[in-house]
């Protein structure tokens, strides 16, 4: 345990060390201290770039790029699936989504023999149901799992159509070139469910007309029931089923009055876009990025730089902003250990998907070698549910 800890500290204080490089090549991505990145990969319709910076003691952000067949068989349809899962309260839900959502997508695509909004909606629901069953099974052993949840942002490209499905406050932003000027403009494709947005608060009030405290402003932050900022998520079973909102769950998660209707929903908002030649790329990222960068700032950075390393570049700019807000140097911010690092910034996941106009017209029946990449992080045995830092951990140094 102690030696593991020492390895960590060494990695954190020597960011250039490649001690944590998981593979020699760039095939599966590289780990550099708390940063994981895959600078450039190939998907069915072009290139992609991916980067993750860890701040939490256990990485709560999970992500994946799956390209190739979107069904359970080799006949396709072929396309690309991308997921960004921003967990809260622990890593269990986001990891669960990473392990199950895409399989449900493949299963429903096979059943319906095509990709559709309905396939994605069903896959979200199936993932939510499976996680609820897991919570029911584990409740007596570790009740805290009822208070773990995750935002879920998905992009699927199939037959020239881009589907964006979102539950929570991650965001997908498209970079579109304006022919006349050559400018690349940002267009947000995802609908967010954060109580800071007025329409989300209105939706909550209309769904819970008998509860004036369904959203509460606390320290300048709007929270559903004064507890959570997002109104939709996978997991967070304690706010969906009253039977899990009781002892032995920690008091701070328990509501005073039993509720009849689920407070949070797992229903994704889904938008559909026919991709055009002027659509250059889409950035998918957890809110850790968007709290430091505007949509247009992020699009400008991607549009004005090479494809390779674009996700890592966005993470770097976000961390520089975070350092500025905390009134410290970026070089010092990078030295801070996971866990305590969460006070300086959130876990951040960024995936940039480029659309190659030559490949966009490729039929979804064309076979393509399977690509499957998962956003990394320092992996520890998943035996703890503690969402916060363990202060004793660093005591020996």
């Amino acid at each position: 345990m102690l030696s593991e800890l020492m390895k960590f500290l060494r990695a954190c204080f020597r960011p250039s060390s490649d001690r944590y490089t998981r593979t020699g090549s760039d095939a599966g991505g590289r780990q550099d201290g708390l940063l994981w990145y895959k600078d450039l990969g190939q998907h069915f319709h072009g290139e992609f770039s991916m980067a993750v910076i860890q701040a939490n003691n256990l990485l709560e952000d999970q992500s994946q790029v799956e390209s190739g067949t979107l069904s359970t068989n080799e006949f396709g349809p072929y396309g690309t699936f991308v997921g960004v899962y921003d967990g809260h309260g622990g890593p269990e839900t986001s990891r669960f989504i990473n392990d199950h959502l895409f399989h449900h997508i493949q299963r429903f695509t096979s059943e319906q023999q095509s990709m559709s909004v309905d396939v994605i909606r069903k896959a979200f629901q199936a993932t939510e149901d499976a996680f609820m069953s897991l919570v029911a099974r584990q409740w007596s052993m570790k009740p805290q799992i009822a208070a773990v949840g995750s935002c879920c942002l998905v992009a699927v490209i199939c037959n020239g159509t881009l589907y964006i499905a979102n539950a929570g406050d991650s965001r997908a932003v498209m970079g579109r070139v304006v022919k006349a000027t050559g400018e690349v403009l940002a267009t947000q494709l995802s609908t967010e469910h954060n109580a800071s947005i007025e329409s989300v608060r209105q939706e909550l009030h209309s769904l819970h007309p008998d509860d004036p405290n369904i959203v509460v402003l606390k320290h300048n932050v709007w929270r559903v029931k004064g507890i959570i900022q997002v109104s939709r998520s996978i997991g967070d079973v304690y706010l969906k089923k009253a039977e899990f909102n009781r002892e032995p769950l920690y008091v701070k998660f328990r509501l005073r009055e039993p509720f009849k209707r689920p407070i949070l929903s797992s229903e994704p908002s889904i938008t559909v876009h026919q991709l055009q030649p002027h659509d250059q790329f889409v950035i998918l990222a957890s809110d850790g990025l968007w709290e430091h960068l505007s949509n247009q700032e992020a699009v400008d950075i991607v549009a004005n730089n090479p494809h390779s390393g674009s996700a890592r570049r966005l993470v770097k700019v976000a961390l520089q902003q975070a350092a500025k807000k905390r009134e410290m140097r970026y070089s010092d911010l990078k030295k801070i250990d996971r866990g305590v690092r969460r006070h300086f910034h959130d876990d951040i996941t960024v995936i940039v998907l480029y659309f190659d106009s030559n490949l966009m017209s490729r039929a979804s029946t064309v076979k393509f070698p399977r690509v499957s990449v998962r956003g990394g992080g320092i992996h520890l045995p998943p035996n703890t549910l503690a969402p916060c830092t363990t202060p004793t951990e660093i005591g020996g140094t």
């Binding site: 932050v221 410290m328 010092d332 801070i336 006070h343 300086f344 916060c388 660093i394």
Partner: protein, 141 residues
């Protein structure tokens, strides 16, 4: 756990420091406003009475600072757009920093956390009366 006697002795010492040494502690309030001017190897926290402290990064590995950050999170949530504020006043923070700087033994550090807890509870229930620093601190003993 530390004895009550020891705690009382500490509280006395603390009171004395808070009253007497207030202007002589080396890590006193800093008025730098731009991040570029922050010393290398330091981070910044604010006390509840809006005083700015520039603190060495290595303090982040002390139990005392980790507890203070945890309480800050419970009290204010994680800051998204600004600097870190700790849920205690500048006198108390100066004292904590001076102790951490002197490499205090582990039992004193534990006692400090116990007394911080008292201060924290007081602060969360009665803050806003910024002139009552000393009283806030002494209450718990």
């Amino acid at each position: 756990m530390i004895s009550a006697k020891r705690l009382i002795a500490m509280a006395r010492k603390w009171q004395k420091m808070a009253a007497g040494k207030r202007k002589t502690i080396s890590y006193k309030v800093d008025h730098l406003m731009h991040s570029s001017e922050v010393n290398k190897g330091h981070f910044v926290v604010y006390s509840m009475d809006h005083k700015r402290f520039v603190v060495p990064l290595k303090f982040l590995s002390t139990i005392v600072f980790r507890e203070l950050l945890k309480w800050s999170e419970e009290e204010f949530g994680l800051p998204s757009n600004g600097p870190i504020m700790l849920p205690c006043d500048s006198v108390f923070l100066e004292y904590v920093i001076s102790l951490v700087q002197e490499n205090i033994p582990i039992d004193v550090e534990k006692a400090l956390i116990t007394s911080m807890f008292v201060c924290h509870n007081e602060a969360s229930s009665s803050y806003g009366l910024s002139q009552s620093h000393e009283q806030t601190i002494i209450y718990g003993f």
